[in-house]
């Protein structure tokens, strides 16, 4: 179980999470929803040790991981993270990117697992020896997701995987995550704006606004809620008419 207890964190003096408390159940897929700038990515970055926790505690399956480094989380707690945006080594080849993804496993294991990943993402396999930067947006995202799966994590933090992925691939990825949770008990904490499809496969959903949790419900309940729109709209605004 992932647990934020009264956490304050942010960038420099700009506190994004103000006394945030939330819980994501073990072996379940929990969605993190909310308007742009709500602090969803900040939650994941804080959890993964990339941002300092100024106050409060972060726990993973009961163990206090406040202040643990990314490397520790990866090697000791089996946590993997796919950040938002592009996170490849552009001038290295696809193959080299994959290898580096498995650097904490040792090369032997990594080389054993790479074919598995490539099978799942055939577009990536076709470009195995190209520089990662030459891939299309979606191909890059596929590579990134694959690179994280290589680690066979126990906890997967994944920030808007659907950005840039075509609908078929999104479905694939979601299905895969579902299987990982069901069959291997992987805990998934995922940020998504592609709310409807995501809710269909997730177990629970947490909505965030201005760094606060505003709701935590079962995904299927939420999907059935006629007021669902309001939840991830960040209040009642809609875009104003054009000038």
């Amino acid at each position: 179980m992932i647990e934020f207890d009264d956490v304050v964190a942010g960038y420099g003096d700009f506190m994004i999470l103000n006394h945030l408390s939330l819980k994501a159940a073990r072996g379940k897929i929990t969605l993190l929803l909310g308007p742009n700038g709500a602090g969803k990515s900040t939650v994941l970055k804080t959890l993964f040790g990339l941002l300092k926790v100024r106050q409060g505690r972060v726990r993973l399956d009961g163990r206090d991981i406040t202040g643990a480094s990314a490397r520790q989380l990866l090697t000791e707690h089996g946590v993997a993270f796919v950040p938002q945006g592009r996170n490849l080594f552009g001038q290295l080849s696809v193959w080299e990117n994959l290898e580096l993804g498995g650097i904490t496993l040792g090369m032997k294991t990594t080389h054993e697992r790479i074919p598995e990943v490539l099978e799942r993402f055939p577009r990536v396999r076709e470009r195995l020896h190209s520089a990662a930067a030459s891939l299309s947006g979606g191909e890059q995202k596929q590579l990134e997701v694959g690179r994280a799966l290589l680690l066979r994590p126990k906890v997967l933090l994944i920030d808007e995987p659907s950005i840039g992925l075509s609908p078929l691939v999104v479905q694939d990825v979601f299905r895969l995550l579902r299987r990982l949770a069901d069959e291997q008990g992987v805990t998934v904490l995922m940020v998504e704006q592609n709310v409807k499809s995501a809710l269909k496969m997730a177990d629970e959903a947490i909505a965030l606004e201005s760094g606060r949790q505003v709701l935590h419900r079962r995904a299927d309940e939420l999907l059935a809620d006629p007021h669902i729109e309001r939840l991830f709209l960040g209040g009642a605004h809609t875009m104003a008419a054009p000038v």
Partner: protein, 326 residues
């Protein structure tokens, strides 16, 4: 917020105006030297700090300005003609030097400008008929202004100061016009800038050319200040020092060059008490300064402002969160 830099500028101006009469010749000379480098690094700050073009060839323009004045005065022409030539010459050559910048960026541009500087230096050193080669040009005079001789140290200082202020005002105007934004856009993301209709070629070239003009003016004043020039002050090493001054002062901050040049020109003089070790101390001081303020000296106010803003934003966010939570 806009007032703060203006106020600081005014305070500084008072110091620059009132202190020198109480200094001995050496102090006045140093102040003049400092102002000359303020002008030169203001230009470099435009090219490097605002427009983001990596230039390591600024001393070449400084030299071109200096030699323009020296050569013309040697042949009996007036300082003012030399100054005009320095301005025009540097502008044109600056434009030309901008061209590699259209093809290559960042690191490679720095190299291209560095190569340009070496080339100019070679010409200064080898073309004895024109530049006096390594013997230099001696006996460069100082100008007259409205029949008033600027030959002595203090009047010449005030003249240099006057030019500095004029150049600063021009740059202030330039930067607060849409050009200022265009330069910053060019620095931040040239690809996006071009797709928004910015003529990045023109802005790139102009950032070099205008920066070069500042160096040229500074060089002209330098020649008359020292009254002797040879190629040594215009080497790549000098360009690197100017780059250092800009970065230490704060690249992309209007008053950065004022402080940066003080570090580059005045600090070694203050450190002379350390005797043989003074340049070592200077080097270490530069390192420590960078460690303390990677954004340069003038990033202090910016840092404070950013912190204030961040605190305000935090508070606003906390309030918003409280509204939701409440």
């Amino acid at each position: 917020m806009k007032k703060l830099p203006l106020m600081a500028g005014l305070a500084m101006a008072v110091v620059l105006l009132a202190v020198p009469p109480f200094l001995k010749n050496y102090g006045v000379y140093l102040f003049s030297y400092w102002m000359v480098f303020v002008i030169a690094t203001m230009g470099l700050n435009l090219t490097v700090g605002y427009a983001g073009q990596k230039s390591l060839g600024h001393a070449a323009f400084f030299g071109i300005g200096a030699y323009s004045v020296a050569i013309l005065m040697q042949h009996g022409h007036s300082f003012w003609l030399g100054l005009a030539l320095a301005v025009v010459g540097c502008f044109v050559i600056g434009l030309v030097l901008g061209f590699p910048a259209l093809r290559v960026q960042t690191l490679y541009l720095a190299f291209a400008t560095l190569g340009f500087n070496t080339a100019v230096w070679l010409v200064m050193r080898n073309e004895e008929w024109l530049t006096g080669g390594t013997f230099g040009i001696n006996g460069i005079g100082r100008p007259e202004l409205f029949g008033f001789s600027l030959g002595r140290a203090l009047p010449y200082y005030y003249f240099v100061l006057g030019v500095t202020v004029v150049m600063a005002l021009l740059q202030w105007k330039l930067l607060s016009s849409p050009w200022g934004k265009a330069f910053t856009a060019l620095r931040d993301n040239p690809i996006r800038a071009e797709s928004l209709g910015l003529n990045i070629q023109a802005y790139t070239l102009l950032s070099f050319a205008i920066g070069a003009v500042y160096a040229g003016v500074a060089g002209a004043l330098f020649a008359s200040l020292v009254e002797f020039i040879e190629p040594a002050p215009f080497t790549v090493g000098a360009s690197i020092m100017m780059y250092l001054m800009v970065v230490v002062g704060g690249p992309g901050y209007f008053f950065g060059p004022l402080l940066g040049s003080a570090v580059g020109v005045l600090l070694p003089e203050w450190l002379r008490f350390a005797q043989a070790w003074y340049l070592t101390v200077f080097g270490v001081a530069v390192i420590l300064l960078m460690l303390w303020l990677p954004g340069g000296l003038l990033s202090i106010p910016a840092r404070l402002a950013a912190r204030r803003q961040a605190r305000a934003a935090s508070a606003a966010r906390a309030a918003a969160a409280a509204r939701i939570g409440g």
